[in-house]
């Protein structure tokens, strides 16, 4: 199912969207040849030196465009991210008539001026390269953010950073720690989740997805259904806070009861993932459209007390981490 904005596109654009959505991989013939360049970029970023990072980024992107036999692209690495209307800009791909296309990447967060994490930087880099691939390799008339686009980005990421596949975070970052992270990084956490779920679920049989690691621990499928329903619930709280001054935030039932009442075990994991992705897309659009003052609007929760929109974003980032970890463990047979 396409993202919600698909309905607003023209017919010609919808055709481009569908084509983009149908291509889920960009295969590199010899990805191992690029691994030293990836390692060099990781090291350069650690030095926190902009010029060193720019050079390493440029070499990696040139390596990628050469490997894919597509025209090169100019690369510019900048320091602190600028503030966009909805938050911070991570990267940008631009094409001007008569000039080579250009990728701009920001290596520091806007507020804290901290150097971004290597994987976040790589994701952004590959996201922008993905736009170049759309035009130069796939010959698409436009470069839309489709599910296929994100899958292509992921396919490149896991060819270039193979260690990341199956990596389990040693700890799930607590909500309080997420609260110290900038809005764009928390939004990036939310944005990555559908692709991460897809990667974990890909190739798994229904039996594997339905297997509970212990009688009282959810299966992978139940985790996905929970994420879908929690998305509706938590984004509903955000909408309520935006529409009503200081509302009470209630939960009808519990997550465990939803799983039983709504018969998660009978549901189709792929369809649940699809529904989650659509709702997540809407949630991200909602967050990105917020005016600065709206982030501090709040509601009252009987146990958690006052909760701002900003706090709910942290809660959602933690919630994703937590359940992605749970899903990995379920597939490994661990409760």
């Amino acid at each position: 199912m396409p993202f919600a904005y698909y309905a607003r596109l023209t017919r010609a654009q919808q055709a481009v969207y569908r084509k983009s959505d149908g291509i889920t991989e960009v295969r590199l013939t010899r990805p191992a040849e690029l691994h030293p360049l990836v390692g060099a970029l990781d090291s350069a970023l650690r030095t926190e030196d902009r010029l060193a990072t720019q050079r390493a980024t440029d070499r990696l992107i040139r390596g990628l465009t050469d490997a894919l036999a597509i025209p090169p692209v100019n690369v510019e690495v900048l320091a602190a991210r600028p503030h966009a209307k909805w938050g911070e800009l991570h990267g940008l791909y631009t094409v001007e008539r008569g000039k080579p296309p250009k990728i701009q990447l920001w290596m520091r967060t806007a507020k804290q001026k901290r150097v971004v994490a290597f994987r976040t930087y790589m994701r952004t880099l590959l996201h922008e390269v993905g736009h170049h691939v759309d035009y130069a390799l796939l010959r698409l008339a436009d470069s839309f953010h489709t599910e296929g686009f994100y899958k292509r980005e992921s396919s490149l990421f896991y060819q270039l950073v193979p260690d990341a596949r199956g990596a389990t975070p040693a700890t799930v970052r607590p909500i309080e720690e997420w609260a110290t992270v900038g809005v764009p990084d928390r939004l990036a956490r939310l944005e990555a989740t559908p692709s991460e779920l897809a990667r974990l679920m890909r190739g798994q049989s229904d039996a594997a997805l339905s297997r509970r690691p212990a009688p009282d621990a959810w299966s992978a499928k139940e985790v996905v259904c929970h994420l879908r329903d929690a998305e509706e619930h938590l984004s509903g709280w955000v909408r309520l806070i935006l529409a009503v001054d200081d509302p009470v935030l209630v939960t009808a039932g519990t997550a465990a009861r939803w799983a039983v009442d709504r018969q998660y075990a009978r549901q189709h994991a792929g369809a649940a993932w699809d529904a989650f992705g659509r709702r997540r897309d809407e949630t991200l659009a909602l967050f990105r459209g917020l005016a600065p003052a709206q982030w501090q609007r709040s509601g009252q929760h009987d146990r958690r007390g006052r909760m701002t929109v900003d706090h709910l974003l942290s809660l959602m980032a933690w919630h994703d981490d937590n359940h992605l970890d749970q899903l990995r463990r379920a597939l490994d047979g661990k409760p």
């Binding site: 509903g236 529409a243 509302p247 009808a252 018969q263 009978r266 189709h268 529904a275």
Partner: protein, 163 residues
């Protein structure tokens, strides 16, 4: 079938009894029907019997949330729910109708318990409905009676292959 306005004129006890009967009526209506029959839509747009039961189950849960809200704060604006989207997202057609009736029965019992415990003055507490404006517990009791009638009728029609 009585309208909401007609139900509003009935004594509370009669309306409560109406709500108490619904789980049994649903169980009776689906008895003897196989899964295929229960999941068969009378046409493309109209729900199958199992979708109607799941809808009643989920609405009952949503009302539980609303009742909690009314008790915590009076006259708060309520946001509408997209019940058609629930049917798709929550995959009603893959659900077992009997299990859905069982879940509905539990949720209904909880809501009846909330209503039975209301003090007389609390019956006038409520919230602001997006289309209907101010609605009290008493108004919701009438609405639920009508809602039950309406969907029981819809379910019987679905099982008879009628939209």
């Amino acid at each position: 079938m009585a309208t909401i306005e007609e139900y509003a004129k009935q004594p509370k006890d009669d309306r409560m009894k109406r709500l108490e009967r619904t789980a049994d009526e649903l169980a009776a209506a689906i008895k003897g029907h196989g899964g295929t029959e229960l999941a068969k839509r009378p046409d493309e747009k109209n729900w199958a019997a199992v979708e109607v039961v799941c809808h009643l189950r989920d609405v009952e849960e949503a009302f539980n949330g609303r009742f909690q809200t009314f008790l915590a704060v009076d006259d708060m604006k309520m946001l509408p729910s997209d019940v058609d989207r629930w049917a798709v997202d929550r995959q009603y057609l893959r659900c077992d109708a009997s299990e859905a009736v069982d879940a509905f029965r539990k949720r209904r019992a909880e809501n009846l318990e909330v209503l039975r415990k209301l003090a007389p003055e609390q019956w006038q507490r409520g919230g602001i409905h997006a289309q209907r404006g101010k609605m009290s517990f008493d108004d919701f009791l009438s609405l639920l009676c009508y809602h039950d009638d309406n969907h029981l009728d819809q379910m019987k029609r679905a099982l008879a292959g009628k939209a």
